[in-house]
Structures are given as structure tokens and as C-alpha cells.
Amino acid sequence: MGDSRLNAKESLMSIHLSGCKEGLQALQKLAKDTCAEACLDKIQLNRIALALDELFANIHAHGYANNGGEIDCSARWIESEDKQCRLEMILRDYAPTIKDIKLCKGVCPDTLKEHPVAGGLGMNLIHATTEIFEHSPLVDGNQWRLIFNVKQKKEDK
């Protein structure tokens, strides 16, 4: 699956979510716990939380029509040939399969000044915060793979 340059280093944890509010909180806790010892800066932590928030909200609203549904999530650190540290998060839902992810494109920011619309920003933010954002249609749902290229800040001695 995905980029062959990336090798699994360590599987951190996986969780099973349902519902909206509690699920989102659990998902963000997963991200926070995964990043806890990575010494990431505030901006990077916020970007990871934001991408998960947006993807979860989209699955909940569009995949499950706000009725709740199951989401599996896993996170792990992966190492690449360039020695950059990357966080991979995979979400799997059991919502109706999306055949063509291109239909889920967000609003174009360039047109907002003349034609401000209050919607469609979530997908843009997911793309902007991730190095890789992939969707795989499954027989009984969808798989979403997010790769974050993170830079560790120097620890205070």
C-alpha cells in the first residue's frame, strides 16, 4: 500500500470509534498520545489534530449522514530513506464506498474573495496539513491514509 520508500517502524496503537463527539475526542487523544514523546511543536500538533478533526467530521457528516457509525483508526511512526520522521494514520469507515474521491474536492480558496462560500474548506485543510492523503475504496467502506512529515523540535536540556 502506498509509497514503497516508507517502511513501518513501529505500530503504536489502534482504536475503534463510534459516534461523533466522543469519537472525535478519542481520535484526538490517539493523536496526542502518539505525539506525546515526539517533541513536536505547537503548530505541528495542531495540524495533526486539525486534519483528523476534518476527516472525522467528513466521515460522520457525509459518510454516515450524522447518524453515527464505526471508524477504526491506527497510528504509527514510519521511517523513510531520507530519515525524515513521518506519522502515518489510517482511518477506516464502513460508510458507503466513495468511488471517485475527486468528487469530494473542496472549495477553491482563490475564488473566496469574490464569492465567499461557507463550506468545502475541510478537504483543503486535510490536503494542506498532510504530505500524503490517500483514499482507498473498499468493498464495505473506505480507507483513508494520512502521512504527516514532522520535524522534532530540540529538547530543552
Binding site: 463527539k21 472525535l24 505547537k42 503548530i43 495542531n46 495540524r47 489534530a49 486539525l50 478533526d53 476534518e54 467530521a57 480558496p109 482563490d110 473566496l112 474573495k113 465567499p116 462560500v117 461557507a118 463550506g119 474548506l121 475541510g122 483543503n124 485543510l125 494542506a128 496539513t129
Partner: protein, 103 residues
């Protein structure tokens, strides 16, 4: 997390001071507070965001409604006090040059 919003209206201007995370769970509260302002005859609306550390696209979408109000009425819709993380979200969405953002 709940959102705390203080609103002060003086003459033709309104100021909203927002504290808390603006997310899909709380953005309706901000929308509900802004809606009557958008339907009034105000000339300017100033949203102070120094107390907001996290904002997602639903929060931004709510503020985009301020852009729509500004475009429709000619009123001034101003954001200020963006924290480092919220400013980063505006930059990621390429909205930092579209909104009237003050320090």
C-alpha cells in the same frame, strides 16, 4: 469544550470576544451570536480571537459568513488577536489575505 462569547455593541459597531475552541461542536454557538448582527444595520463587526487556540473548517466557515455580510452590506468585518495556531490554519486555507486581519 464550550465556547464563551462576549458581545459589546456601541453605536454602529459590534465587538465579539471569543474564548474556547471553535469546532464543529461549538461553531453553531458563534453562528447564532453572529446571525442577528448580520441582520442588523451595523457598520462594523470585530471578532477578537485571542482566546481561541483551535479552530476547524466549521469555525472558518462561520467567519466566511462575515465576509458574505461584508460583501452584501459594505460593512467592515474584522478579525484580530489570532493565536499562532489559528493564524496557521488561516494561512493553510489561504484565507489570511482574504479576511481583514488585525494584530
Amino acid at each position: 469544550m464550550s465556547l464563551k462569547i462576549d458581545i459589546q455593541t456601541v453605536d454602529d459597531s459590534a465587538e465579539l470576544e471569543v474564548n474556547g475552541d471553535v469546532t464543529i461542536q461549538t461553531s453553531n454557538q458563534l453562528r447564532n451570536d453572529l446571525k442577528p448582527l448580520f441582520e442588523s444595520t451595523l457598520e462594523s463587526i470585530h471578532v477578537k480571537l485571542a482566546g481561541v487556540e483551535f479552530m476547524d473548517s466549521s469555525g472558518i466557515a462561520t467567519l466566511v459568513e462575515g465576509l458574505q455580510w461584508s460583501k452584501r452590506t459594505g460593512g467592515r468585518f474584522v478579525l484580530s488577536g489570532l493565536t499562532e495556531t489559528v493564524r496557521d490554519v488561516f494561512e493553510l486555507a489561504k484565507l489570511d489575505t482574504i479576511f481583514d486581519i488585525q494584530a
